[in-house]
Subunit: 146 residues, 2 copies
């Protein structure tokens, strides 16, 4: 077992999962703040130069998990590791956000898809991308888009 503690918390406009756009066509344009705990501030040195960040966070309001489930945007069952479902064996979320600016321990970002108050466990620079022509999107390519 490995134990993690929050390094900060998300300030997001979303207070209910029903408000968060989901599925292949979802646009994540929500803006908010990643607020780090003061003890971690020096770990943000130089982060301003990056345009995009990975945010690793906890689905802290999800309970238990299913290995097979039906996503909200499809009518077929898929394995949990082929989805981004919150109820997973280790409920870690991953989001790429655009960094707009930093003010001390506060990172102003665009592209949030997590609830207000979500615990953050790590931040990393987003460095490279796989050329979009090389990406196969599995069952999502043929999923029903609402």
């Amino acid at each position: 077992m490995f134990s993690f503690r929050p390094i900060g918390f998300v300030q997001s406009p979303y207070t209910d999962t029903a408000q968060i756009p989901k599925g292949p066509g979802a646009e994540h344009a929500a803006e908010g703040v990643l607020e780090l705990l003061p003890e971690f501030e020096s770990g943000l040195t130089d982060i301003d130069g990056f345009s995009h960040l990975y945010v690793l966070w906890i689905f802290d309001r999800a309970e238990g998990y299913d290995l097979l489930s039906m996503p909200p945007t499809d009518d077929r069952v898929h394995g949990v590791f082929a989805t981004r479902a919150p109820r997973r064996p280790n409920p870690i979320g991953l989001t790429v956000v655009r960094l707009l600016r930093r003010e001390g321990t506060r990172l102003f970002v665009r592209g949030l898809d997590m609830l207000n108050g979500t615990p953050i466990v790590d931040l990393k620079p987003y460095l490279s991308s796989v050329p979009s022509g090389e990406i196969k999107r599995g069952w999502l390519a043929e999923a029903r888009v609402d």
Copy 2:
């Protein structure tokens, strides 16, 4: 505090961190296997259709952390959240791999950059990429490349 347990382990050609290519110009072409524990096999249903996966894993041989450190590819100090250094407050690693094929609980992949035996805590489909023209790489853009 949040506790996570391994869902599987990495079989990688790397047994020492010195063998792993590092820095902005590093090519991660190593092939290996992500072997899930049998109890999680059904969670892999439909994963075969995706070309790329996110692997979330633990730097299980790193101890402690520094908020400021000098990466092997630069001669300046940077904040830990602006690097991918192993010694971080929550030692979670993130790698994008190419999925070559699946055999039961075994995912054959290319692009490993972790040590043999590394614990895996989550897998997610890699869905989209930020257009490379939009990415700013911060201090890495001007770092010394060996």
